[in-house]
Symmetry: D2
Subunit: 147 residues, 4 copies
């Protein structure tokens, strides 16, 4: 099975590290959340900004408030992995992302997930999305709805 190019998703690739496996022989389940984060950061880069800059310049952080994950097939050491990420909901003070984790060599869908985030400053107070970054995210969401 070939993964069709789907313009709605940002894509990034990584290879499973030894340290990410556990003694049952597969990737330990918490590591997929770290890969989701890799996906979010690359989605930002795809939309013309750097998540790090948003933190530093605009004092806007996106802590996770809720998440859910479905584990279908385990990833294994040295597998090439495709992470697909998209924005599915954007509010003035919150954002939701969806993810697919796919084994590159045969297109198998391994894991799916969703994370909800709020926008906070470095003192932990809720705040609105900085407009510069919200606009770029909004393009993303609009594009998804159109499809």
């Amino acid at each position: 099975m070939k993964i069709a190019e789907n313009p709605r998703w940002s894509e990034t690739r990584l290879r499973v590290r030894y340290a990410e496996t556990d003694h049952s022989g597969v990737v330990y389940h918490s590591n997929y959340l770290i890969w989701f984060e890799v996906g979010r950061v690359e989605l930002c880069r795809d939309h013309g900004f750097n998540y790090r800059d948003m933190e530093k310049e605009a004092d806007a952080f996106l802590p996770v408030t809720e998440l859910s994950v479905k584990y279908r097939v385990p990833a294994r050491y040295d597998d090439e992995i495709l992470i697909r990420t998209r924005v599915v909901r954007l509010r003035s003070r919150a954002i939701t992302f969806e993810y697919q984790v796919i084994r590159e060599k045969d297109g198998t869908l391994l894991v799916e997930g969703k994370t909800d985030h709020i926008v906070m400053n470095s003192q932990g107070k809720a705040r609105a999305f900085p407009s510069k970054y919200a606009d770029k995210m909004r393009e993303e969401e609009t594009r998804n709805k159109r499809k």
Copy 2:
């Protein structure tokens, strides 16, 4: 606020490690899943068996198939943490656990979670719970329903 002793939950304690925090100053969100695992293992111990033995002697593993987490308040470096774990559903080939992560010093509920697991052998085939261990888990579930 003092946490009332609740006999339905297994309890275990840990202290937040430096490596578990991230540069935003709080615990990185994937680490709570590792703490949930610590909670499951201690729940097994509370019920008279060792999760490691179940893997080794009975060739029964409990991979996570689905999970959800709500993040309310972040844990911080060096916080003493109470993990509360209980069995909420037990089938012949599946089990569901619930968790509460609590800041020990003031009883604040930080994070809640739920994980679904199936029973598999080391070759990755679904199998029934080994009866020796299922019985001990069943006591647990019955106890929870009675309350």
Copy 3:
């Protein structure tokens, strides 16, 4: 073999977590460094202060500048582990710790290590040890030399 109580070392215990193992069946080697950190923090507590407070109140951090580790026998999932930590050298702007990682059930020495640290403020500038904390550390070093 029974570990003799050695007053020169601070001791703390932990249990190997599932996430700390890798697909070869033993603890992944980088995790011992995290356990060394657990040992340092407990050594501070043994000497009447909290490493977190030193960071917050005195703006003094102890980044690792150099380390070495010898791996003798691997730790495995669910092993009970004893971490022994001591100060072996203390200067106005630097400190060196030594560690032993021991399997609790039979006293086997698994891993030994040494870490060098300098004292820095939160802006990354070298600074002297805050005297309040240096004094407590110095007692420790003196005690070690006397033995």
Copy 4:
């Protein structure tokens, strides 16, 4: 400063993940060991084989027996990192690698390290390097000495 292309080193690149930082604002020091592993795996790939295959087909594992690291400058979140790895010693039952961790954008050397490994089978017994893989490693070592 531009890093001169040095044919003696295998090179691979990665980007610092959020989860790899700690609350002091920089990469937690144990994570560089995980990056060294990424470097070793890519060195194998550069020499025409897959470390995973050596484990699976030849039952040869390379556990770390000793390591040392010098930390010069900390890596930070989202930095692009260049990992340089080379074989510096090869015996029938042992191998030593060296590493440099470099900040891509300005060529700053952040961390240097060295790891010693022995060859073992999956039962934990020492064994000789499988000749097929030793030959490929030997080319590497010879190449380094000639320079």
